[in-house]
Amino acid sequence: MAKNAHFDFKTNIDKALGNRQLRTNLKSAMDYLKVKRSTLFDDENELEELRTLGNAIKRRALSQLPQLLEQLEEKCTQNGIQVHWAETTADANQIVLDIFRQHNARHLVKGKSMVSEEMHVNAFLQDHEIEAMETDLGEFIIQLAGEPPSHIIVPAIHKNKDEIARLFHEKLPNCPYTEEVAELNAIARKTLRQKFFEGEIGLSGVNFAVAETGTLCLVENEGNGRMCTTVPPVHIAVMGLEKVVEKMEEVPPLLRLLTGSATGQLITTYFNMITSPRKEGEKDGPKEVHLVILDNGRSRILSDPDLQQVLQCIRCGTCMNHCPVYTRIGGHAYGFVYPGPIGEILTPQIEGLDEAGDLVSASSLCNACEEVCPVKIPIPALIRRLRNENYADERDGTVPGYGYKKNFIEALSWRGWQLMNTRPAIFKIGSKLMGLFGNRLPQVGPLKHWTSARTAPRLAPKNLHALAREEGVDNE
């Protein structure tokens, strides 16, 4: 995968925070999604049971992942689905390109898929003179704008209606300017309908792949996913290898967790279950179905018993909706495909800490993400773990790029902090000095950052140790 050599988190953050419109759009959208979710999941005990079940299903699947993937391949093959394995995103792209070449095809219609974003397949195909057309409304909008998704479920959430109206008017041929939502929808629908006729190959993601039956499940609201997977003669499904579950009976609870957490829906408008290409005598459906199973670092992540929990993710995006940091900076600031809390723990593991390790700084560890995660991924604990890895040495670093932040000044500061907090005599002198001079410290370093938005903290002349001593509170 292409390395993001120019990832400059600080610049991205400043740019995002400076955009008032973006913050207003995000806040109202996230508030809306949060209310929708809490309205649907109004029984706390029921939700807790469901999350516990979701966690158990995904953990069990991960614990037997190699076997399940083999079973999935076997079942899919029996059903007539052609299975391809891709170790890297480059491999996955090549597989897709080879299928295009076999069919002399030039036009792709795409349903929404984050793995396809991970592959950057649109740009890759474009380099080979193949047109890839996004058909999910949100993806269609950002493709017109030439932007990546800013959210994994609602990719154009950073844009409001007026911005979309201008975009359609400017980018679509002969498109009149309108701010009417129904008219904007109709314009997109008409444009896309033509593309569905032209598409020779359809590409989709996979929400759940069921090993025991070889079934690919696809969740969507617009019907474009069904169009992409049934209208063109060839369907390519791409999935990360963690998407496999063992049994069909495990799908309903995961589906309920996914739609409820993502958009507060009991069920989406469409739920597609694809188990084979068109069979003899059938009148519709693709003649060929391909499944591309992508690793891209996932099997390496699986080898760590703690960090592998990131692979439980069902991509509902609710951690973003509830994240106070995401709500303020939006998805683009995170610089890579997966933003928000889940991106913070996934991206550095895929890309390496030296590339993306700075992402783990974007958390106050408020635990809001962990509280709502439908499969109970301990996101804050994994953020902490990756912060440790950022400073780790050869003895305990395991994530690629570990130790990239190691520096003498910070190490020395924390050593000093440790010394002060483990030696009562030093602590006593230190406290006394802080009481005397703490309020007169020059505003440099950490204090400078603090006072950029707040007045300096005022330290008490006498600390609690001294007060307790004077008041005769027992020492032990």
């Binding site: 106070p324 700084s361 106050s364 408020c366 635990n367 707040r454 300096a456 007060l467 027992d474």
Partner: protein, 249 residues
């Protein structure tokens, strides 16, 4: 749901480093609230910090050294009361995590079992009844994320405020949202932290409250600093100090 012990004869008080340096009056008020219920309080003079700053910043070994020292100092089998949801959460839930591969993990777990957040202890163990002697005042409450989502004691803190007859509690619009403190987060990502605390200060202003109460001094320092910076005239106070002042006739 946690099961609580009978009222003990004696407790330890772990003051926390922020209370120690910036809010010692809140710490003394906490000690007095416990003493008033007829319980002896010990404040070991060798105590320092729970270790959370290093723990959250990528320095687990330094955190461990400081944590081990507290475990050693608070060695008698008394409950340990902490006037902070965040530090209490660190000692109750993160110490066992921090020491999970160490030979003394069982001792660490027994230590962690003894940790109580102050308002939780006042409500469930001491079962305090507060007699409000102050004038009418409108207040709002900010819960730290760890009091809310780790220690789960927010309702205890609010229950104490509601016992005060002349205190009107107005809840914040985005009550469950972080104030942007996050320990070293506030200096490592100062831009985002500033945007978060600015919004929190605005929410507080909109309640029309005269005082914002909190149970965690990190949040209070952050929020009050931002309110002062933006010239929002709301006074801040730790809940222990507020209760002590209103009930100590």
């Amino acid at each position: 749901m946690r099961t609580y012990p009978e009222k003990p004869n004696k407790v330890y008080f772990f003051g926390t480093c922020l209370v120690d340096m910036a809010y010692p009056a809140a710490g003394m008020a906490g000690i007095r609230l416990i003493q008033r219920e007829g319980v002896n309080v010990a404040f070991p003079q060798k105590q320092t910090c729970c270790g959370q700053p290093a723990y959250n910043s990528g320095f687990p070994e330094e955190a461990k050294a400081v944590a081990r020292e507290q475990i050693r100092i608070f060695n008698k089998n008394y409950p340990i009361v902490v006037p902070s949801g965040s530090c209490a959460g660190m000692m109750r839930y993160h110490y066992p995590e921090l020491f999970k591969n160490e030979p003394d993990i069982e001792g660490v777990k027994r230590f962690s079992e003894r940790i109580y957040e102050l308002t939780e202890f006042l409500v469930h163990v001491l079962k305090v009844r507060l007699d409000d002697q102050g004038h009418h005042v409108k207040v709002t409450w900010h819960s730290s994320c760890h009091a809310l989502r780790e220690m789960r004691v927010t309702e205890d803190s609010k229950a104490l405020i509601r016992q005060l007859k002349k205190v009107e509690l107005v809840e914040l619009q985005n009550e469950k949202e972080c104030c942007g403190f996050g320990g070293t987060f506030s200096i490592k990502r100062p831009e985002i932290s500033a945007a978060m605390v600015r919004d929190k200060a605005e929410d507080i202003r909109q309640t029309g409250a005269r005082i914002v109460l909190g149970g965690d001094c990190g949040c209070l320092m952050n929020i009050s600093g931002a309110m002062e910076y933006h010239q929002i005239p709301v006074y801040q106070q730790h809940i222990a100090e507020f209760i002590w002042e209103r009930t100590n006739g």
